[in-house]
């Protein structure tokens, strides 16, 4: 099981180490002061990729080949030249969409040496040399429907979820906020918009079922059963049994169906975890009680897990990349916007606080030991 945890925050990257049964401590830090928008520890290797957001000075990539002992600045996914005279504007707000990477929002590993990277404003990039070079997936970017995407929490749309099918790494499915679910079966040469059954409550009624208007906050799959997808959507929780082509909404999830983060059990397709917030307009835990919800039966029923979590005046929000499960499905961790971090060693039955005074947590990932 993973004994180390990488935590990307608004002011640096931290590694948390399990020092004894039930005891985890902050082991070390990197990039102190700099926002770390996403981090990827490539399974089975010592490679870690970390995306920094330097504000005035743009986004940067850092790459370690030795588990974090040494880092080097690596190439950033960059857009090609925008054709002269091309009008590329947000459809509803009229803002000119920049052909420039503004935020690196997601990273995923595919075949050996293959990396995928999703960014704001809506580009998907692929590397076949471990991040030494990147290519914009033009077929997706040039699809005319891409120009209908909208920003979700940011001025422009972004790709936050990248699911590489373990059975066939040429099959990749991405989640766009706000632009729905897209899939390719040929490593990005062609793309299909999928997502029947999704519902957007924030659109006029006649557009609510349009797959293009959907705002998935986060999509994950069960690695052992990759047709099972879980989605925390802007207005609810959805589950798919066919790789995202069709979805069914899970109604009446208590204490709330709103949130950002979801984690899928690596082996059991019927088990998933969520961290709910009250609702879109009030992004705080319901009644100030921070809880995790867990289903073990495909969403028929949810358990509310609160042991070890604050149950009064807690205002922690958990971002979409800030909940993680390890490769065995036993250990979980999540971090919050108010700088708290919790770990569970029993699938969420009980939680222990690691810190309450980290910077705002942006992303969490277990770092599998290379000897596992």
């Amino acid at each position: 099981m993973a004994d180390r945890l990488l935590v990307g925050t608004h002011k640096g990257l931290f590694r948390i180490k399990r020092v004894d049964e039930g005891r985890w401590e902050i082991e070390r830090s990197w990039f102190l002061g700099d926002p770390v928008s996403t981090v990827l520890a490539v399974p089975g290797t010592g490679h870690i990729h970390a995306a920094l957001d330097l504000g005035h000075f743009g986004v940067k990539m850092q790459h370690s080949r030795d588990g974090g002992d040494n880092w080097n600045e690596a190439p950033v996914p960059a857009y090609p030249d925008k054709p002269d005279g091309l009008e590329d504007k947000d459809p509803f707000r009229g803002l000119e969409i920049p052909w420039s990477t503004q935020k690196i929002w997601s990273l995923a590993a595919g075949m050996p040496g293959e990396l995928w990277c999703g960014v704001i404003p809506g580009g998907l990039f692929r590397s076949t040399d471990g991040g030494e070079s990147w290519a914009l997936m033009r077929a997706l970017w040039d699809d005319p429907r891409r120009r209908q995407w909208m920003g979700g929490g940011y001025d422009f749309a972004g790709i936050h979820s990248i699911l590489v099918d373990p059975r066939d790494p040429a099959h990749v499915t991405v989640g766009v906020s706000v632009g729905g679910v897209w899939t390719t079966i040929d490593s990005g040469a062609h793309w299909e918009l999928i997502g029947e059954g999704l519902r957007s409550a924030y659109m006029p009624p006649d557009q609510a079922a349009d797959p293009l208007t959907q705002d998935p906050h986060r999509i994950v799959h069960c690695p052992a059963s990759p047709d099972r997808l879980w989605m925390q959507h802007h207005n609810g929780i959805f589950v798919s049994d066919d790789g995202g082509r069709h979805w069914r909404e899970l109604h009446d999830v208590l204490p709330s169906g709103f949130g950002f983060a979801v984690a899928a059990h690596p082996a059991d397709p019927d088990t998933a975890w969520f961290v709910p917030a009250q609702k879109d307009e009030q992004r705080i835990p319901v009644d100030g009680r921070l809880v995790v919800t867990r289903t073990r039966n495909g969403g028929e029923r949810f358990e509310i897990l609160a042991t070890g979590l604050p149950q009064a005046h807690a205002y922690d929000l958990v971002y979409r990349h800030a909940l993680a499960v390890d490769e065995q499905g036993e250990r979980l961790a999540f971090g919050s916007t108010t700088g708290s971090l919790w770990v569970s060693e029993d699938q969420g039955d009980a939680w222990q606080a690691i810190s309450h005074h980290l910077p705002p947590v942006l992303c969490v990932q277990f770092q599998q030991s290379t000897s596992d």
């Binding site: 509803f92 707000r93 920003g151 929490g153 001025d155 706000v178």
Partner: protein, 89 residues
């Protein structure tokens, strides 16, 4: 008669019932609406009368073209929706 509807999220802050008015442009429709519900104006338009940055106005399923002067023409059965741009969070 053109109709005007608002996202339910706005009702948390101020009453904004659906309404219909005889209006030839979005600007006229808004003026008539705000004459009855003046508190809504500041939630939808900025100090200069332009649509707020993170507000979307949809006219018959399409985004409002003129977000500054609201000059888009309306048909007799036009449906205008004011919704939140999710870019706003």
């Amino acid at each position: 008669m053109p109709t005007l509807s608002f996202t339910s999220n706005l009702t948390r802050h101020t009453p904004c019932p659906d309404a219909a008015f005889e209006a030839a442009t979005v600007a006229q429709l808004f003026d008539l609406y705000f004459s009855q519900w003046p508190d809504v104006r500041g939630y939808v338009l900025d100090d200069q009368g332009a649509v707020r940055n993170h507000v979307i106005v949809m006219v018959d399923g399409r985004g409002l073209h003129d977000r500054r002067r609201l000059s888009d023409a309306l048909e007799s059965e036009s449906e205008v929706f004011v919704i939140q741009a999710l870019s706003g969070g």
